[in-house]
């Protein structure tokens, strides 16, 4: 698999992960990365360098929007929340990944949950 294809898959899965986690509640960058890492048992990990370009890209597409707000410690953080357009993206993206894993499973016996 070329690096380009691998990168596209990583990007696509990252988009879904971020949309899914923001569908529950608005979060700021560090919290997004932390929660994704924790909830996937470390299988999906975002670094500063991988998270923000993706977040900004999604913001550019109008899927998420950021606003500054104080966190629990009283420090200003840029919280991201899903836009109506982002909410509309979530279901088709989920379906797309489901189909992808089903196809991979039927081909290579990679079962998905």
């Amino acid at each position: 698999m070329t690096k380009r294809i691998r990168s596209k898959i990583a990007r696509g899965s990252g988009e879904l992960a971020i949309l899914a986690i923001l569908a529950e509640q608005p979060l700021y960058g560090f919290e997004i990365a932390k929660q994704i890492g924790e909830r996937t048992g470390g299988a999906l990990q975002f670094t500063l360098a991988s998270l923000y370009p993706l977040l900004y890209e999604m913001e550019k597409r109008g899927w998420v929007e950021g606003h500054w707000q104080a966190n629990q410690a009283g420090r200003d953080r840029r919280y991201y929340r899903l836009t109506p357009s982002g909410k509309r993206q979530l279901a088709p993206l989920r379906q797309e990944w489901r189909s992808f894993f089903q196809a991979l499973d039927s081909l290579a016996g990679v079962s998905h949950v």
Partner: protein, 207 residues
């Protein structure tokens, strides 16, 4: 990050956000013993590559489209509004004061000059909303004067280069320079009045 080619307010916001992330990561590391891989990933960031990626992600379209939105369209809007105001005020009976210079009539469009801040403000607002840098906002706001300047610069060249018909400067020089004053210099002031409020950078939240 200093080399990020983004509008100043966007750039400062990105830097603030990344700094906040590093701050959180640092605190997390202190309280929960930062995992070695995480610590390594933070120290191994290729900032130049990250800046490029963020720049690509942040810019809404390519540079050409940004220039169109931030400069050319606001400047065109400014010219259109200024021209419309000139015609509309004339039609409303607010005519220019006529002055005789070297036996030639020259209009001093005072009502138009008083209305010009609207035109400058509209252009600067459009440029600011397109996140144009300060220089682009100023140029868009002063567009009518700058176009007049270009016309008045080209005019003598045309007179000089038109060898077949050239027989000296075709209009009196004092009339030419006074016209330049009326159409280039005087509009600068009302245009600046409209433009200046939109030259300030947006306020930023600091972490």
């Amino acid at each position: 990050m200093a080399k990020l080619r983004l509008p100043c307010d966007v750039k400062e916001e990105v830097v603030s956000e990344l700094a906040a992330h590093l701050e959180d990561a640092d605190e997390e590391g202190l309280t929960q013993n930062l995992r070695e891989s995480e610590a390594r990933s933070l120290s191994n960031i290729n900032w130049r590559s990250l800046a490029r990626e963020i720049q690509d992600s942040k810019l809404k379209e390519d540079a050409m489209n940004n220039r169109t939105k931030g400069l050319w369209l606001p400047a065109l809007a400014n010219l259109t509004i200024a021209a419309t105001l000139l015609v509309a005020l004339e039609m409303l009976g607010l005519k220019a004061r006529i002055l005789l210079v070297s036996h030639l009539a020259m209009g001093l469009p005072f009502p138009w000059l008083f209305a010009l801040p609207v035109s400058g403000a509209a252009a600067a607002l459009l440029a600011k909303r397109a996140q144009a840098p300060l220089a682009a906002r100023l140029i868009a706001g002063l567009a009518p004067s700058l176009v007049s300047l270009a016309v008045f610069c080209i005019m003598p060249l045309v007179f000089v280069l038109d060898r077949w018909q050239f027989s000296g400067f075709p209009i009196p020089l004092d009339y030419f320079f006074l016209s330049a004053l009326v159409w280039i210099v005087l509009p600068v002031f009302p245009l600046l009045v409209g433009t200046l409020p939109f030259l300030r950078q947006s306020g930023l939240r600091k972490t």
